[in-house]
Amino acid sequence: MSANSTFLLELHCEEIPARFLKPLTEDFETAFTAWASAQGLGAVALETFYSPRKLAWRAVGLPLAQLDQTDIQVGPPQRMCVDEAGQPTIQGLKFAEKWGLDFSAVRFEQPTGKKEPCAVVTVTKVGRPTTDLLMEALPGLIAGLHVPKAMRWGRSDFEFVRPIRNLLCLLGETVIPITVDGVTATNTTWGHRLHHREHPAPILIATPGVYEAKLEAAGVVVSLDLRRSRIATQLQDQAAEAGGRLVADAELLDTLAEIVEFPKIVRGEFPASFLELPKEVLVTSLREHQKSFCIERLDGTELLPFFLTAANRTDDPAGYVKAGNEWVLKARLYDARFFFAEDRKQPLSARLEKLQALTFQRELGSYYDKTGRVVALTKTLASRLSKDDEHIDRALEAARMAKCDLRTLMVGEFPELQGIMGGEYLRHEGAHEEVWQAVKEHYRPVGAEDAIPGTSLGCLLSLCDKLDTVAGCFAVGLIPSGSKDPLALRRAGQGVVRILWEQGWPFTPADLIEAALRIVGPKATKPAAESTEALLAFFKDRVAYQLEQAGYAPSVRRSALAAGWLDLADLRARCEALSAFAEDARFTSLAQSAKRIGNILKDELASGELVRGLLTQAEEILLADKLVEVEAKTEQGALLAALADLAQPLEAFFNSVMVKCEDAPLRAARLSLLFRLRQAFLRVADFSLWQ
């Protein structure tokens, strides 16, 4: 008999919502491995499987039993256990009896810490069989899974994600007949629902190793990765066959893999007349309503009148699946066309007044109020970026129109098209390209992966909108903390920083905070000083994150940030210069000298007034000369180059000059020299934070 075997558990349920599959599988994996290790079964690696109706786990090499455990038990002293004749005393016999042993098993040794030999026995605790342990533990592990939206069914009080209809539980060939909510485990399960309309018998899984193959034969590909890769291949092939390429969507690919048990990609067509709808509308409508992919021309310009979706079966023998999906899609697109036509019966601007009835946030008022603030903010900032009145007017027009599409039918149906529809409707009305582009893109970047708006006006509008959201919420006390950020203020704040960073605009976060809070003004419930302080801390974190995203090394980020962060263009230049310079051979020496300067100045009062005439040694005079050069540099690269040239002189200085000398005026002059040097360093970075 081998000492270990393979464990397999499958919960076969009614269709589990796709979004819960992975978390539930992982939750059990964590709980099971923790349990196995606590039971002395060692480090178990679980393979996980899931499909709409199945959650399954397999562990290869699970020991068949716990290891036996031996313990040494110490009893009374030898003299009390054995009498003078060498016979066991009552006390000696009782000791042996206590551990279930014969007196002959008792030996006499002097354990550490004892002054004399004592009775000692070795007790062996026999490890329990794994089957017993699993029998006891599995029902609790299953019932203990964290289900975010649990349900009851029938008359039972048991709660789970969906009704459990079958259990498969094996250790090797042995069934572990656990019972959960009245269902007892066997070595059989069920394949694809449609498979069993023709083959009524359950599927026998004689050993854990045959699990996937048996299920595939019964119409279920139980590995998510396999389903996903098969879908991906079919999607590519089908798109190519249609003469185009797939409009990629990783999230949709995951979704399709999670909602079918046997993936078959079906290609359908829709009437080409629907191509007059904006591309985004088609892509969104197909994705949201039909979980379908679009195919675009190879040059990426327009869509082709095809779609791809996954069927939950192996084939489409009568073409019903294709025809059905085409039929539904036509109905959906008909609706989209209806919305597109209805929405354009009046100009977008007609919705401005209607924004009054749409609450943005209780204290901050309606979207109409928000629009007013964004317009005011845009006005303040646009006039600082441009002196062109027409350009400024266009910025204001875009700000006024930005939120109007929230009252259109199309955005009501597809909230994710906000901004995009506003832009499209303005374009159809003949608005200036800068205006409609800005409105269309003003929600970007929607995440770390997304780009900022492609136009300068779009960036300005996006920045003002997000800034107002962040500053407004802070002003009424809605400040994100820990994992709580229901209004996604961090993402909005990150967008502001991204735009400033990439555009290189001459606004500091402090400027922006001041302007935004002034405009929020009367709506604020918190004192402006308090909000300003909280916002500065908030934006500093966002800037730190931006540096991380930009790929700078931790030392570069820390030391550059500590030397000032409000001027983003300057910060960026410093980070660039530092990153380049970190490779320089002189760098380590310079950083060390800078740290040393910091240490010396820590407990000293130094003046910035350097009395150069007091310096005596050649090394310090040379350093003072170099300092003059360094201080004259204005550009970050040149400044760093000049600082780099200080590496050698600094080393020489520290090797030969005693800073804290007895001569008080000389000592003050030397400290002043170091103080000025540190000021020069701090224009780039705080090297004391370099590691």
Partner: protein
């Protein structure tokens, strides 16, 4: 398949599986769930299987009879199975087979769709059932109705009758569906859904989007509410009070279709309907408990 044939087959199927065949409730409502056969039937401990057709009104969905896919009023076929049977999904699939759907050629999926009716204080979890990419049914395990936990849990199956008919027949326009045939001495006359309903769609859409008197509806809403609470509080009458809740709900939907309810007002109005509905559910359960206690006492004598 004709609409009436589809209804007859579903009724036959579910009657054969041990359901009472109920009738639509004669008040305006948005869904079959609002019928007392479901609302009260899903409460309490007693087994309860019922199936019925329910005409369902959605004032905001009206399209003046011009949209081939969307209507103000459609037909739902509603099934309640309490407690939910272990093989409920198989039963449902068999009902589709009874409609002539051959699963060796079709694609069937159960996709998560959790149902909630804030105005009934009801929610459940379940799926939309998707056949070849089209949603044909709503499948729900009721967890709460009228603010009360459902013990045992009922399964609710709701079939969209027109949709299934259109889909099975490949129709591109709901108004082209054939309801049934009139056979007379003068010949056989197929009657379309359009002949029966298109004018009604036009007038009801015009009513809910243009002609409904807003002041009247606002005042009706208040009156129904007052009436409902009077019936419930003064007389302990949960059935007649529940009718008032249904009327409040419909009145609200008419106002909503006219755009007369602001987003901020909305939750408050829905809560007023829910409060009355929940009051009715509570009174019903109390009544049932007393009734059971009383008959137990009667039996002992």
């Amino acid at each position: 398949m004709h609409i009436q044939e589809l209804i007859l087959r579903l009724q036959r199927f579910w009657a054969d599986r041990g359901c009472l065949i109920g009738q639509p409730y004669d008040l305006e409502k948005g869904a079959g769930t609002m019928n007392p056969l479901t609302f009260f039937g899903a409460l309490g401990d007693k087994p309860w299987n019922v199936a019925y057709v329910e005409p369902s009104r959605r004032p905001a969905d009206g399209r003046y009879g011009e949209n081939p896919f969307r209507v103000y009023k459609h037909l739902q076929f509603q099934v309640i199975l309490k407690p939910s049977p272990a093989a409920v999904q198989d039963l449902y699939i068999e009902s589709l087979e009874a409609l002539g759907i051959d699963f060796s050629k079709h694609d069937l999926r159960f996709e998560e769709d959790n149902w909630e009716s804030p105005s009934l204080g009801a929610w459940g979890v379940g799926w939309q059932v998707v056949l070849d990419g089209m949603e044909i049914s709503q499948f729900t395990y009721f967890q709460q109705v009228g603010g009360q936990d459902c013990r045992p849990v009922s399964a609710e199956l709701t079939y969209g009758i027109e949709r299934i008919c259109m889909f099975l027949g490949g129709y591109d326009n709901i108004f082209d569906l054939i309801h049934g045939e009139v056979k007379t001495d003068e010949g056989v006359f197929p009657v379309t859904y359009g002949q029966m309903r298109q004018r009604e769609e036009f007038e009801l859409s015009a009513y809910s989007f243009e002609h409904a008197d807003l002041d009247l509806h606002r005042s009706l809403f208040e009156s129904f509410e007052k009436e409902g609470w009077r019936l419930l509080k003064d007389h302990g009458h949960f059935l007649s009070a529940y009718e008032q809740a249904l009327k409040m709900s419909h009145t609200f939907h008419v106002l909503d279709a006219r755009g007369a309810v602001s987003t901020t007002e909305r939750p408050g109005i829905i809560k007023r309907v829910r409060d009355l509905a929940c009051g009715c559910a509570k009174a019903y359960l109390e009544h049932e408990t007393e009734h059971v206690a009383a008959s137990a006492k009667g039996g002992a004598q």
